[in-house]
């Protein structure tokens, strides 16, 4: 093969294409269990990207993500249901996302005024109040038992098992198979738009907000507006994730949208690496897939007993939670830029080994999908001078 062809094959568009092709294959080879893990992971990734924009890039601690996910999930379920508003499902889905964004916007007066840890707890309030509403507003939410989710139809095509069966290349395509491609499309859309935001003017403004609101303001960033916008955008991604989750679960219940879910998302972006789309995705897959995989392969894991055995023994869910909690602590204290940071550093080390001159230009244009800047928070060991100082003037 010629040099040019090889070069082309190694280039970014080629890699992306290859990845896209690979991602289209699973429905043909994997069973529903794996496809569902994939679906949940994709939905989680969309939500995690949203939270990453808010907490990782803009630096606003939010424990309220579950609330906006719920709006997306329940919003779609209610709007598309018949009896009920009976909107065409695609429209219902869009409305649900917009509704979630609007909720984020409604919260923005609080977000604009309340800062830091106070904001974190205020968002906690959202989750609890939201959960309460889900439990009590029976007519819309179905109360404690939740409600079923109408399947999505797009131009006559239904994303659910149909009768007669749809067979593609010899493989029967049920709900999971069809939803897989929807998930991929939505995920790709998320990746594209979030990347655009992070790399562009809004992303820089949000990052500046995190590092120093004063510097950002002085450079012309309308702080209050951007803090509000961060919430709106992140809520819209959460709403989208909620819709996909609802479609994948086919049923929504209030107890799912709890503080634990918000914490899950926080864990995803922490473990994956704050402030990058790739990191959020990696974290989402880790947090989503781990407990499900451990449950499935419980008997093959040392120390772990099968689910449902004697109380007090280490079941797979508990084992997964231990790992999960430990991962959060270890990552934060020892590798604060998460999996993504680790990957980036590993790649930099490999690159340095390949170029013996080892120039002083670290990979500013690193991976294809992360924000161009090392937008993750500085590791604790970084020289004090680089960290933004709290005092910005001598009296």
């Amino acid at each position: 093969m010629s040099e040019r062809l090889l070069g082309l094959l190694r280039g970014r568009p080629a890699r992306t294409l290859l990845l896209a092709v690979l991602l289209c294959l699973p429905p043909f080879y994997l069973d529903a269990f794996w496809l569902r893990i994939g679906l949940f992971s994709m939905a989680a990734a969309i939500g995690a990207v949203g939270l990453s924009l808010l907490s990782g890039t803009a630096g606003q601690l939010s424990l309220g993500h579950a609330f906006f996910l719920a709006i997306g999930a329940y919003g779609y379920s209610y709007l598309a249901s018949d009896p009920g508003p009976g909107l065409p499902p695609a429209l219902a889905a869009c409305c649900a996302v917009l509704l979630a964004g609007a909720a984020g916007g409604l919260f923005s007066p609080v977000a604009g005024r309340v800062k830091g840890i106070y904001l974190g707890i205020a968002t906690l309030a959202l989750v609890f109040l939201g959960h309460h509403v889900l439990l009590t507003w029976d007519s819309v939410t179905g109360g404690f038992n939740g409600r079923s989710v109408p399947p999505l139809t797009l131009g006559g095509f239904t994303f659910a098992a149909s009768d007669p069966e749809l067979v593609v290349l010899g493989v029967p395509f049920g709900a999971e198979e069809r939803l897989w491609y929807l998930g991929l499309a939505l995920f790709a859309f998320t990746w594209f738009t979030a990347g655009g935001l992070l790399r562009g003017r809004p992303g820089r403004a949000l990052a500046a907000l995190r590092d120093s609101e004063t510097a950002a303001a002085v450079m012309g960033v309308d702080v209050a507006r951007h803090r509000a916008a961060a919430f709106v955008v992140s809520s819209m991604y959460a709403g989208l994730a909620g819709v996909l989750l609802a479609l994948a679960f086919r049923r929504v219940v209030p107890d799912y949208f709890s503080l634990a879910l918000s914490i899950d998302y926080l864990a995803m972006i922490v473990i994956g690496g704050l402030g990058s789309v790739a990191g959020a995705t990696a974290g989402a897959v880790f947090v989503t897939a781990l407990p499900l995989l451990m449950t499935r392969y419980a008997d093959q894991l040392p120390l772990v007993t099968a689910p449902g055995s004697a109380e007090g023994s280490l079941g797979p869910t508990e084992a997964a939670r231990y790992l999960y909690g430990a991962a959060i602590v270890l990552v934060l204290l020892y590798a604060p830029d998460g999996l993504h940071g680790l990957a980036r550093r590993a790649r930099a080390r490999l690159a340095r080994r390949r170029t013996p001159s080892g120039g002083r230009n670290p990979e500013a244009s690193a991976s294809a999908t992360s924000a161009p800047s090392s937008a993750s928070p500085s590791s604790p060991a970084e020289p004090a001078a680089a960290a933004p100082r709290s005092k910005e003037h001598t009296p």
Binding site: F192, T193, A194, G196, L197, R199, G200, R201, P202, G203, R204, A205, A207, A208, D211, S212, T214, A215, A216, A217, V218, M219, G220, V221, D222, V223, A229, V233, R360, N361, P362, A364, S365, P372, S373, S374, A375, S376, P377, S378, E382, P383, A385, A386, P388, R389, K391, E392, H393, T394, P395
Partner: protein
Amino acid sequence: MNDRTRKAPPVLQVRDVTVRFAGLTALDAVSFTVASGSLHAVIGPNGAGKSTCFNVLSGLTRPASGTVTLGERDLTRLAPHRIAALGVARTFQNIVTTHGTVADNLMLGRHARSRAGFAASALRLPGAVREQRAHLARAREIAELTGLGPHFDSPVHLLSYGDRKRVELARALCLEPRVLLLDEPVAGMNAAERARTAAVIGTLRAELGLSIVLVEHDMGLVMRLADEVTVLDFGRTIAHGTPDEVRRDPQVLRAYLGTGTEEEGAA
């Protein structure tokens, strides 16, 4: 895209500005005028209120009374980002850079001059992409102007202190300001870096026609560059005038030295 119109910058007037913090009067009826295109230095011993003054000028602190006007516009109660939009840029004494590369920091400085919103950036509309490219080119120009060319893609935290100070300056320049507020631009630098920075500041004034307000302790720099000097002590203006006039003013000498008759030499 060069919008450095040679229109003279408007006059910056500070009139009777008073700032109080929990009982302490940080600034007491401070007034001075920065003539168009001039370099005005604000000096004074530590605690005199110089940085507070800057915070008022850039909108970070609201004065209890008094006004700040830029030409016809009243800046006194404007939010910092609006003041920036009007063309007033400042640097900070303790460097406040964001994470990322020099390019990232400079591009933040272009925020006020660019327009791409959330939707346009998310959807990567061609207008937004083009705008970004143009601003990146401009940022690179400004980096060259301030000697940061070779470091354009380097992470800021890897640079030397002097270089990081220059990033502060370059970022402020990226705003294409008409008035530049420099808060101790040479603090902590060695002699060579000081000379280089002084030269850059001189060039900025000469070539870009900016008005510059300078807070500095380095007397040599002030005397060499300033057209006019305002001296603060305990929040009050104690002297005004050209560097020579101020240097001989007995009040100033007393404020700095207490009793001595010799002037304080350059640091």
